[in-house]
Amino acid sequence: MTDATMQLLAEFRSEVPVPDSEATNRAYRRIVGSARVAGPKPTFRRLIARRRLTAALVLGALVFTAAGVAAVTAPWWQSGGPPVDPQQVVAVARDNLPAHVDVARARTVVTAGNAALVAVPLDATGYCLIPAIDGQATLGAQCEYQVTDPQSGDDDRTISVTRHASGDTRAAWIVYGRITDPRATQIDLGPFSLDLAAGGFFLGQVPQAQWAQLSGSATSGAILDGSGAVLHRGCIDWASEPVGGATAGDGEYPLPLWNASTGGTCARQRPPAQPVIDLSRATKLFDVRLIHDDGPWKAGETITMERAPRSDGTTCLVASGPGNHGEGRGGEFTNACAATAGATSTQPISVTFGATLTHLDGKAAYVWEISGTTEPQIAKLELRSDTATTSVPSGGGFFFAQLPTTSPGPQKGTVTMPPGKWLLVGLDITGRQVAQVDLPAARRQATPH
């Protein structure tokens, strides 16, 4: 390449900035610090997540690396009282938390009026936090897998979560989390301060009189020790106040409540924009009868796969099923796509794997799903194992299927597929085989190096 061409290429979009250290730290906390578990949301359609496998891998790996790590903090769960409503904790844990949280040792770690924060132990130093208000644990949950460096602040978790009014449920806005620096006794949020309970946990209800003032704003904050001395300075990113009926901002705010900073003016941080799926333009592709439970749907139920455009120009495979045309049935929902139509591939069949940790007959197991896209010459797909050949539901260049067998869970590190041969075979309109994917091999390739 000539120098001029190379120079032009080097200058192309060179105005794109390098993220600063604050943005990098925020990203680090988001990625490493927690595997967040969304609470039930009234979403009407379930989106099949291409990233589910990644999430499962992270989850599986993180959960087990916590085992055997020596605790660096006091056994905080021993001093708290039992959960305010144990059944709520059991329900949230069953539907949302990692398979081996120790629900029997769940403890209320801090209360604030009619709000309570329950911690459920997870291996040696991990825990999941479940906030509840008015006895209802409808504000999501969040898990932290290990705490190794309390004073650095990297292990702190601070959350702002809102709930809009609906029926008999009143609007609520709470802040909660844990400051892991053992010297800390109080977090100053600006308009008000909260004392830290044993273990560094905190919980507070944002006074309704201050909602309008704080909504969408950022204030200076500090973490203080017992003498009132400032240990850390930072900024508080307040969420948007819960107003009226359902709002787009309802639920857990995507940015941490607390951001450590060296000083200066605090400005509101913008949550990263996520592509939006236009469900109003969804068109039906095919039906799938489920072999295993899948999120809100039970084995034996039929779900409908549809295609819908996304604001980033891609096309997503989305699912709808019984119960989510009217009232949402809860469960986990994610704004991701199983497959992207038209994504250039040298392969006639492009496969994405999903492995969801669940409970079957009381035992943890991974339910495996395959989804993806096919080139136009493929008229039919078959899934061939050692024992059977089954037709794979497909249409419009997309496909989706559950594997008939599961793999045991939870597993450490890379989650293995169910043993045996698994071939995805593409046939043309005459029934001639024109493509074949060895799924275990593709799965290994999809797990980087």
Binding site: M1, T2, T5, M6, L8, L9, A10, E11, F12, R13, S14, E15, V16, P17, V18, P19, S21, T24, N25, A27, Y28, R30, I31, V32, R50, R51, T54, A55, L57, V58, G60, A61, L62, T65, Q146, T148, D149, D154, D155, P272, A273, Q274, P275, D312, G313, T314, T340, G342, A343, T344, S345, T346, G413, T414, A446, T447, P448, H449
Partner: protein, 180 residues
């Protein structure tokens, strides 16, 4: 927390995130960068520390990015056609600005016409500043393949930007799917 991961993250995240932003814009890039490092974190203990880190990370990112090649191509085509670069414009969220620099529009068009795999190699070289060997490792390609593709891609780009409209040796800008 995995030993050494935090340091690796703070060292590599900024450049990788910027690289992805230059490829597909901030909204998508932030997501892809997060997925890249989440994957790296999950596999951190199994990563051979005697290997170079950057090719591994950029390899993960490349695997994720391939799902968005079409988006990238469309963005480049739109830039070439209209002079408005959505990737640059999402930086300031201000009024759209028409880039009057015709050469960059030409370049955008040329990049859009490259095969996706070729564009990957070229931009890993030019923007991520990986060596040929690192690109080979990142993309799991033979070193010779990387070298030949890079050479050919440079030639194609040079021809396109020279305005001659001639392509050397009859090679097509659309090199996708070419056998090794």
């Amino acid at each position: 927390m995995r030993s050494g991961f935090a340091e690796a993250f703070r060292h590599e995240y900024p450049s990788l995130q910027r690289y992805l932003r230059r490829r597909v814009g901030s909204a998508l890039a932030d997501d892809l960068a997060a997925q890249t490092f989440a994957t790296a974190y999950a596999n951190w203990e199994r990563f051979d520390r005697t290997r170079a880190l950057r090719p591994w990370l950029y390899g993960i990112a490349a695997n994720l990015l391939r799902h968005h090649w079409r988006t990238e191509r469309r963005q480049l085509q739109a830039y070439a056609r209209t002079g408005v670069d959505v990737v640059a414009n999402d930086l300031d969220h201000a009024v759209e600005r028409a880039d009057a620099e015709g050469r960059k529009r030409e370049l955008a068009g040329a990049l859009a016409e490259l095969g996706d795999a070729e564009r990957d190699i070229l931009l890993l070289h030019a923007w991520a500043e990986l060596t040929d060997r690192e690109i080979a490792e990142a993309l799991s390609l033979p070193l010779g393949t990387v070298k030949s593709r890079l050479h050919r891609t440079r030639a194609l780009l040079r021809n396109r930007l020279s305005g001659s409209g001639q392509e050397q040796g009859g090679a097509s800008l659309l090199a996708e799917g070419e056998p090794e």
